[in-house]
Symmetry: C2
Subunit: 343 residues, 2 copies
DNA sequence: TCCATTTAAGTAAACGTTTACTCAAAGGAC
DNA sequence: GTCCTTTGAGTAAACGTTTACTTAAATGGA
């Protein structure tokens, strides 16, 4: 029984049970009406015994739904995308959906290739998560206009039309970081930014500035440096900052730069957090396992995954979506305790 | 032109070009013969202009191939699986294949559910990677017997039949680690093992023992401890080892335990590597970014991905596979330099 | 008893391809 | 001119479902 590979079809069941394929289909899909309880039991029993499993291709061909969703990420090595994917999968599996994972390798040419190859019937929807902002939004907007379910993550641009965009609250992230350090008594807070071109990095910096002003502190560009998100770039930036001096806390724009900064600090013989407090934007396994332990802001990637999953199911089922832009609040993460800052 | 969402079919092309669907199909699939150059050009032009894209479901229904492969991993958070997935994707994308990624969450019940749901026509093959060895191998063996393409990673058991198993050379990993430390002058080498139930952890330990004997060293159980692969377990194990003392080097069975051990060492006021040399089995981003920098053995997950991709394509195309068990040699990784130990 | 309604099905088209088979015309050898 | 082969197609079945439409029998009310 339940032979896994045997190709028993709905026709086989029909002929064995002396009914039509229509009846079998109705029973198997639990469509009410159109058959007696006796017939139902007979068909169900036969299906069970013969190990019937529906052919997803045949079904999809007629229903025009595949129960497949594609997720495009720039690079699965980023902790954020791992968390995001896990949350999304958790949500969509409940609806019988499976996920195609595609690494675009931060190349928008690749991205377009994937999208064009997937949107024509293979998947019911596409989720595009971008590392930073991308210019090439036209294709997405066009698909969206044709009512093909598309959701983007952290994508920015003037021409996004009605596209459903889910974003991290980058501004709040930066503001929140300052707030925390201020509450710990810090009055001079250095900042290591992300790439100049990165929109979200810029927004985090704006949040940092707002946080300073809100607490009556004067922004000072002499204790702000650019990095390129890499470990080494932050080490270098931190060395420069240490020469300038005059601050008691540091905010770094991502996890790798946080670690890179820490290296420069300990190398210089300063202690964390006694001499300099370090706060990382983007809590990941790297910041979690770091010694000495550091404070970090959690981007709630797992929760974002759930949110996106919910939106995607709504779009696929043609349900109203409410607002098109959803902003996920970051969570403040200090050692083992996690709490939501905004209710 | 090239309207992405419009559903132009082969029939549309046929009627516009005044040919049959068969001819269109032949042209589009580059099947030689059956049409003139003039006809070919006309059809190709129309297809381009109307933005024709074949319906993958309809095609799959008749060809019985979906160009989809499923990858089951216990948890995508493990660096090994990220690397593995990236390598596999790189390889299979070249053949027009896309990957379904499924997190089994280290639960063999989940694993079975996924497999049963996928093997009936949705994917052309399944790759099952296991964190440790699993008992429930029957389903896999049965599918394999029915010639459904299955490849397993790091799976162990008596009853694996003709299953294609790709494995890390865990034995060599342990042996190699000892060899390196011996070459650096160490004569007393401690070891933190993985879980007692884990087959691959046990094999690594056997490699460690063999490495000791091979170099004329006497194994000493007093400087061997069990961990459970977690950071905390290694910190605890290391604290115990430090009390025992009498060693100058340590080998830890994975990346998290390597970091956990380092924490205990620095907390105890000992320096790395001056007082104690640390060598990690499994090089990951965690060991890469650790300060002070540590030596680690790379499991070549990316390369394994390529190997598995090659095997999978061979199985799908009914080509001979050669040996069914493939063992991937680990690579020795010291800071930035990587070199193969065995040619 | 007669008519209307419900129940329990069956029929057949449709989804968009691929492909085995057929076939007519043209070309070439003799 | 006849026969064989090649070329350039067309025909239609098949893949395994779903579903709109039809139908016959049973049920129920008056």
């Amino acid at each position: 029984m339940a032979k896994t590979g045997s190709r028993v079809t709905i026709k086989d069941l029909a002929s064995i049970c002396n009914v039509s394929t229509a009846t079998v289909s109705r029973v198997l899909n639990h469509i009410k009406g159109g058959y007696s309880g006796e017939t139902e039991a007979r068909i169900l029993k036969a299906a069970e015994e013969m190990g019937y499993a529906p052919n997803p291709m045949a079904r999809s061909l007629v229903t025009r739904k595949t129960s497949l969703v594609a997720v495009l990420v720039p690079d699965i090595h980023y902790y954020f995308f791992q968390e995001f994917f896990a949350g999304l999968e958790e949500h969509l599996n409940d609806y019988g959906y499976r996920l195609l994972l595609c690494n675009t390798q931060e190349d928008s040419g690749q991205e377009e290739l994937f999208i064009r190859g997937l949107c024509n019937g293979l998947v019911d929807g596409i989720i595009v998560s971008t590392l930073n902002n991308r210019e090439q939004n036209d294709l997405l907007v066009e698909l969206d206009r044709e009512h093909f379910p598309i959701i983007t993550l952290e994508r920015y641009g003037e021409d996004l039309g009605d596209l459903c965009c889910v974003q991290i609250d980058n501004f709040e992230t930066g503001r929140m970081a300052v707030d925390y350090l201020y509450s710990q008594g810090h009055r001079r807070i250095a900042f290591i930014k992300g790439r100049r071109e990165a929109k979200n990095a810029e927004i985090r910096y704006q949040g940092y500035l707002a946080g300073l002003r809100q607490n009556g502190l004067e922004p000072d560009e002499s204790i702000v440096r650019y990095g390129d998100y890499s470990f080494a770039s932050a080490t270098k930036a931190m060395e420069e900052l240490l020469e300038v001096g005059g601050f008691t806390a540091l905010i770094a724009a991502n996890d790798l730069m946080t670690l890179g900064a820490c290296k420069a600090i300990t190398k210089a013989g300063r202690r964390i957090p006694e001499d300099i407090s370090v706060l990382g934007l983007d809590r990941t396994i790297l910041t979690d396992t770091h010694e000495p332990s550091i404070v970090a802001i959690d981007f709630c990637a797992h929760e974002i995954g759930h949110t996106v999953g919910k939106c995607m199911m709504a779009m696929i089922n043609n349900q109203p979506l409410g607002e098109k832009v959803i902003r996920q609040n970051p969570i403040f993460h200090n050692g083992k305790s996690i709490r939501l800052l905004q209710e």
